[in-house]
């Protein structure tokens, strides 16, 4: 789905949040477009959760303005917009004395959603079998899934997911992202934070890197890679006696590093040299047994911006 041309549904302008001398959020500008899966990444204490809470109107900005669907989040009209928002907080806390179904029925009533939606919501997150069990008997992962089911009630148009895969096993993470893909195809706008960068790097449309309360960069993962101009890594599998041949073949190119290992050589170079390296390795007449090229990961990009 093309989201580049869609209008922004979440707009933050010069948003600040100060706790005494601490600037938790310090002049954030952000545009999140309709139907976009937007990632917000940063260290602990970078200001992500504070920004999330301000976007949801849970805390008031010290300065600046946040609008969702054109409505100011701190204004009295925001209640109507809230009905179209789903929120999964980090470390979701639900009511231990209620069953999974009763929990959803409680939140459904608050959202003005029919109770008949609760069963299908539980089924969607794989908790249909545990619907009548008390939440106190749920594992951490089950609670997280129940929290996600709560966020999905009322078919929200905007979803805020704060560290949504915490406590989930690999299978649950896979089905979680499958649901996100489906929601994305339905045009739902999603904002997600995660510490597990590898998990979201291939899944978000765009992301923002946040450090010390500021947005350091915004864009697609690829655009951020290019913006950082981080080197690529080649892994060239050759016999040890051919290590020197590899060095010789690349000697005329501006590669950053060549390191020999047990059965392979790693080569680090800038993106613009990539094709020249491949051509040079091709001259080794079959001595190269295998070749892999690793793009800079989101983690590399993140540390590039945050260091």
């Amino acid at each position: 789905m093309q989201t580049e041309t869609k209008p922004a549904v979440i707009i933050a302008r010069d948003v600040h949040k100060h706790y005494g001398p601490i600037h938790a959020v310090d002049g954030v500008d952000l545009d999140i477009r309709a139907g976009e899966l937007f990632g917000l990444i940063g260290h602990n204490g970078a200001g992500k959760s504070t920004l999330f809470k301000m976007m949801l109107g849970l805390i008031t900005a010290t300065a600046g303005e946040i609008r969702i669907d054109g409505v100011q989040v701190s204004g009295g009209n925001f209640r109507k917009v809230r009905r179209t928002i789903g929120y999964l907080p980090e470390n979701v806390v639900l009511y231990d004395n209620l069953s999974g179904l009763e929990t959803l029925q409680f939140f459904a009533r608050l959202k003005g959603v029919a109770a008949t939606e609760c069963g299908p919501a539980l089924e969607r997150v794989g908790l249909a079998q545990a619907a009548k069990r008390r939440v106190r008997e749920y594992s951490k992962g089950m609670r997280q899934r129940l929290g996600f089911a709560q966020a999905l009630l009322g078919k929200p148009r905007i979803l805020f997911l704060d560290e949504p895969t915490t406590g989930l096993d690999p299978e649950a993470i896979r089905s979680f992202y499958a649901i996100l893909r489906q929601l994305r195809s339905e045009g739902v706008t999603m904002v997600i934070t995660s510490h597990i960068l590898a998990e979201i790097q291939e899944r978000v449309d765009r992301l923002a890197i946040m450090t010390a309360g500021r947005i350091q960069a915004t864009g697609t993962v690829q655009a951020l890679r290019e913006q950082m101009d981080l080197p690529l890594w080649f892994t060239v599998r050759v016999a040890p006696e051919d290590f020197e041949a590899v060095r010789a073949a690349l000697s005329h190119l501006p590669v950053k590093a060549i390191e020999a290992h047990d059965d392979h050589v790693t080569v680090q170079c800038q993106r613009e040299v990539k094709m020249a390296v491949i051509e040079a390795l091709a001259t080794l007449n079959g001595r190269v047994r295998d070749l892999t090229v690793r793009e800079p990961s989101l983690e590399d990009v993140f540390f590039g911006f945050s260091d």
Partner: protein, 271 residues
């Protein structure tokens, strides 16, 4: 303000107390104490069995004035701070509900649980004693139950206010205990002490009005002045002007004690 949102929160709070048998436990406590007082209240005089409704109510007033404020404060001290400390408040606030609706929902749900316990506990005693009570006695007993409900609601309102101001549950519980000590044990002593120490020179005229600054005293006065047999048993009746002892006026003061802490709590919760 959406009433449906208040009802949703209130019904959850109420059914939580029904489920965990809080309502049942408190109702049984009230029934047991009321029955013991009704039948054995005169045991010290070598007499057992039900005597008169006035004497029974007077004894119950002495009990309720300690018990209900304590139960109400325990019930409400963590209404908001508990949600905040557990981490469930953010999710609740992200719903299409205002802070006022959450606060009122919490209050009304807890007040319904306390009212249900009080009415069920003391109501059961009224049923058991009904053969020995005439219509007037029943009216008096009903008045006592109503004033007990108001007393509970007033202290519950104070507890909810504490729960909004307190930084954590530990502090909230400490403040609740301090509040109980102040209103139930210390307040009257301070007033009487000031009155006696100044030889009646200081505070004599405003003394009755100062009593209205304590919901426990309002409850006591409300019950004492409606019972002719009991009025003479209390020295308080001699310093309290009968015009101020109008049950409707005192009821209104009690409603003020319910509304004012809730209003302060709402103001603070919205900050």
């Amino acid at each position: 303000m959406e009433i449906a949102q208040i009802v949703t929160i209130a019904s959850k709070e109420f059914w939580d107390r029904i489920r965990n048998r809080w309502v049942l436990a408190v109702a049984l406590i009230f029934t047991a104490f009321a029955l013991v007082i009704a039948y054995f209240g005169a045991a010290q005089q070598g007499d057992v069995g039900f005597r008169s409704i006035d004497v029974t109510i007077a004894s119950l007033v002495s009990l309720v004035i300690y018990l209900i404020p304590l139960i109400a404060l325990i019930l409400g001290f963590d209404a908001i701070v508990g949600e905040r400390e557990r981490g469930s408040l953010d999710l609740l606030l992200s719903m299409p509900i205002t802070r006022l609706e959450i606060l009122l929902g919490k209050y009304f749900g807890l007040a319904a649980a306390l009212t249900f316990s009080t009415v069920a506990g003391f109501g059961l005693v009224a049923i058991l004693l009904s053969a020995q009570l005439d219509f007037n006695a029943l009216i008096h007993y009903f008045g006592f139950m109503l004033s007990s409900v108001l007393l509970g609601c007033a202290f519950l309102s104070l507890a909810v206010m504490l729960s909004v101001f307190a930084a954590d549950r530990t502090r909230a519980s400490g403040l609740a205990i301090a509040m109980w000590f102040f209103f139930v044990l210390v307040f009257d002593l301070l007033l009487l002490g000031a009155l006696v120490a100044s030889g009646g020179q200081w505070g004599g005229e405003i003394f009755p009005y100062l009593l209205l600054a304590n919901p426990a005293d309002v409850f006591r006065i409300l019950n004492i002045f409606t019972l002719a047999d009991v009025r003479s048993m209390y020295g308080l009746a001699t310093v309290f002007p009968p015009t101020l002892a109008n049950p409707w006026l005192l009821g209104l003061v009690m409603l003020g004690w319910i509304a004012a802490p809730l209003a302060i709590a709402t103001w603070r919760f919205r900050q």
